[in-house]
Amino acid sequence: MADQHPPQTPVQAQRAQEAAGRYTRAGLWLQVILLVLLALEPWLVSSFRVMDVAAKVMIFAVLVASYDLLLGYTGIFSLAHAMFFGLGAYSLALIIHHAGAPLWYHLPLAALLATGLAVLVSLVVAFFSLRLKALFFVVMTLALAQFADILSIQWHSLTRGEDGVSFKLPGLLDVGWSGGKLWGLTVNGRLLTYYIVLAAAALLFVGLVRFVRSPAGRVLKSIRDNEQRATALGYKTFNYQILANVFGAVVASLCGVLYALWVRFVGPESVMSTAIMLNILLMLIIGGMGTLYGSIVGAAFILVAESWLADGLRAVKVFLPDLMVLQRLADRWILYFGVLFVLVVIFFPKGLVGSAREIAARRRARVRE
């Protein structure tokens, strides 16, 4: 690779090459295509179920990406991430519920409250437990998450306990509202909410991507690699860990608001429980840690499987009623799910996106030689 242009160093050559290929990068086009597909989805498939899964995939992709910021980029293993999601979801639900009737300003207010609570709680978590050894940090965050879960169940006057809170959205976003047809599709509250979710999720995701590619994001990566060295370079590593914690918590909390906005129902089981935390972990591991984009694949994989794998197997039962063996197997779709998960972990130890990147990098290296 000896460079024949003396004034240009290999570093500059690489930079020039990257600048030239900025708008032809495969990754960029994949993102654009994904965004266009999601934007046109209501017109492409007229099924509420598909739209529902698409919205949830977007929300969970961002939620998992914000968790990746902690675990994959900074090496902070927290089990309180679902709690921040719940905090955001309850912010919206409870404001509208306790106000009696939904009003426009409830939405920005909920976003503000969700952000404020997330900053406050994550700062407390960081100050009290980030200095602890990793194991104690895990236990502390788990205890805190359990506490929040129990609180949401027991504090009945505030949260309506296990029953949860269903609520309506204001004005145009209400399911009842309908504004006529546009290119053959009814424009209603659902559709508008879908686009709010799409826009917000895209913005938050871009925010996360920018964060990990920023100077501060690079410091996070170096802390994960060799914290003591980072300190010797003059980085106050504790501050960066707090920054990552707060940033991740705020994004998770805003994802909670979006989730509440989309589902219009919030209960302990659906936003606070350990099951959500496990789902986040599962999605992250399947998609691949430390990639951010892996969270999109992981979230899509799990939510699509959850939604259709069970159905597919039930269909087997209906169409092949005589085959007892198949029926038995179909009843155990959860088991398949587990097997699928194990296979992914074995064959793609870095997750789907992480492994794909590795293969691409190896191919590129071979081309260069």
Partner: protein
């Protein structure tokens, strides 16, 4: 007026680990823009002294002054910002980042842009270019895009020095920079240290075993033995000191 003031000075510096006094009442001063070597047998406390000066360890007694200011209570990050940079005897790099990124991170710390989280880190090409220059300086530019963990031991030592230079410290603490390098690589690194010294902008404290080489390189040589400073003088004087000859050159001839 500051010429009379030593750049760094320790006063009765002491640290004990349990019953073992690793550094024992060491009072040492390094004048600005000079190179002082520290020698002594293995286990004499040289690395521990560096750890105290750079803030990795807290002393159990004594004080440290940098440009006349008491820095005993400052942590390692704060001392780095003041201008104290060190290399580690045991290689200490970011193993999973590229060679260039290792150096760039040090430059970024120095440039004070590190809390920025809305701009792309590649939006600072001057840092990358400067990092590459530093790699050229330590003869490592051929490996700029390699992952650091794939470097040979000698290459990792060079990377350490590049990282250190990137921090642009006034005071360099070099702990056996040539340890583990192949014989052919050693002269180039010692030449580099000589260059840095001759440029006249930095003060260097060097732990190095190759006695004949440091003789010509050093303005002064300090000798540690069992945690105590037994001698600190010009190279010609130190090499004639009977106690040194006995303690170091005679007894520990394996190091020479």
């Amino acid at each position: 007026m500051a010429a009379a003031e030593p750049l760094i000075r320790s006063q009765e510096l002491t640290v004990r680990f349990g019953g073992n006094v690793a550094v024992n009442r060491v009072s040492l001063a390094v004048e600005p823009y000079t190179l002082k070597s520290i020698i002594g047998p293995n286990g004499a406390g040289k690395t521990t002294l560096f750890n105290l000066l750079s803030g990795q360890y807290r002393p159990t007694g004594g004080r440290i002054f940098f440009k006349g200011r008491d820095i005993t209570g400052l942590n390692a990050a704060a001392r780095t910002h003041l201008g104290i940079g060190r290399s580690f005897q045991l290689t200490n790099i970011f193993p999973n980042l590229t060679v260039l990124e290792n150096v760039r991170l040090a430059l970024q710390s120095r440039a004070g842009i590190s809390y920025i989280f809305w701009r792309n880190f590649r939006a600072y090409p001057e840092l990358e270019d400067r990092a590459y220059e530093l790699l050229q300086r330590v003869l490592l530019e051929g490996r700029w895009d390699a992952v650091a963990s794939t470097l040979t031991h000698g290459e990792q030592r060079k990377l350490e020095i590049a990282i250190l230079l990137a921090l642009d410290p006034e005071l360099l603490l070099l702990d056996e920079p040539t340890a583990g390098m192949s014989l052919e690589e050693v002269p180039a690194i010692l030449e580099l240290i000589r260059d840095i010294k001759d440029a006249g902008q930095r003060t260097i404290l060097l732990v190095e075993h190759k006695f004949d080489m440091i003789m010509s390189l050093s303005d002064s040589i300090a000798v540690l033995k069992e945690g105590r400073l037994i001698c600190d003088d010009a190279p010609e004087v130190v090499s004639c000191n009977p106690e040194v000859l006995e303690a170091y050159l005679g007894g520990g001839a394996k190091d020479a």
